[in-house]
């Protein structure tokens, strides 16, 4: 195996474009996304309010 040959096979490692827009899109996507647990919690609150509507007043009182 000729090491001189291998040396000439280096990859072009220069970055050709700014990757910040890609990073920004990724960050923004996470900001908008609501975690599954939050949806489950909201659903549980709604279900609780439907089953026990009188508890809404108590909930509002504590908020």
């Amino acid at each position: 195996m000729d090491t001189n040959r291998l040396k000439q096979l280096r990859a072009d490692t220069d970055l050709k474009r700014d990757l910040w827009p890609d990073m920004r899109r990724r960050l923004d996507a996470r900001t908008v996304r609501v975690p599954l647990l939050d949806w489950a919690l909201a659903a549980a609150v709604v279900a609780w309010a439907v089953i026990f509507p009188e508890s809404l007043l108590a909930l509002l009182y504590h908020l």
């Binding site: 000729d2 096979l9 280096r10 072009d12 910040w20 990073m23």
Partner: protein, 171 residues
């Protein structure tokens, strides 16, 4: 700047991103040798760094931390990709290196195949050491192993490569 990043300052993160995206991309590109994959993995590296910012110690080297993350992602990419994905620059060897017309066609394909068939850890160490000529100390720091560990991996890789490429005349 690093303190602000660790505290979740997006402006500081952007400044660090712009400063380090080139070196991180270059490091990943040296391992995976695929422009698109290297770009994706660069963004993924910073994404993971951002999510782990609370665990980052601002007194440590940010670049070294990123390189470790990048190396792990690049190795995972090699595992997923398999042997077929290893590519050599297409006629376009590094602009700084003189082009050798002898390395063409079958020989180039054989070299790419031989490197691609190496286990990912050996492939990364061998590519960085033999093709990219990175210092062993840098490879060790980037891969999170000792210099002797790098030497061992390169030695094992060379043994395998020699067997696979022994038919190539070495002048």
């Amino acid at each position: 700047m690093l303190d602000r990043f660790a505290a979740g300052d997006l402006v500081a993160f952007e400044a660090l991103f712009r400063e380090y995206q080139g070196p991180v991309y270059g490091w990943i590109m040296r391992i995976v040798r695929d422009r698109g994959a290297a770009e994706d993995l660069t963004v993924e590296t910073f994404w993971r760094a951002w999510n782990a910012r609370a665990r980052f110690d601002p007194t440590r080297s940010f670049g070294a931390w990123l390189r470790r993350i990048a190396s792990n992602l690049a190795l995972n990419h090699l595992k997923r990709r398999g042997a077929a994905g290893f590519s050599l620059p297409d006629g376009g060897m590094n602009a700084t290196a003189p082009q050798n017309p002898a390395i063409e066609g079958e020989t180039r394909a054989a070299i790419a195949r031989a490197f691609g068939e190496l286990p990912p850890k050996l492939q990364a160490a061998a590519t960085l050491a033999l093709i990219e000529e990175q210092p062993y100390s840098e490879i060790a720091a980037g891969l999170g192993i000792s210099v002797n560990g790098v030497k061992s991996r390169v030695f094992r890789a060379v043994r395998i490569l020699r067997k696979k490429l022994e038919w190539i005349r070495t002048d």
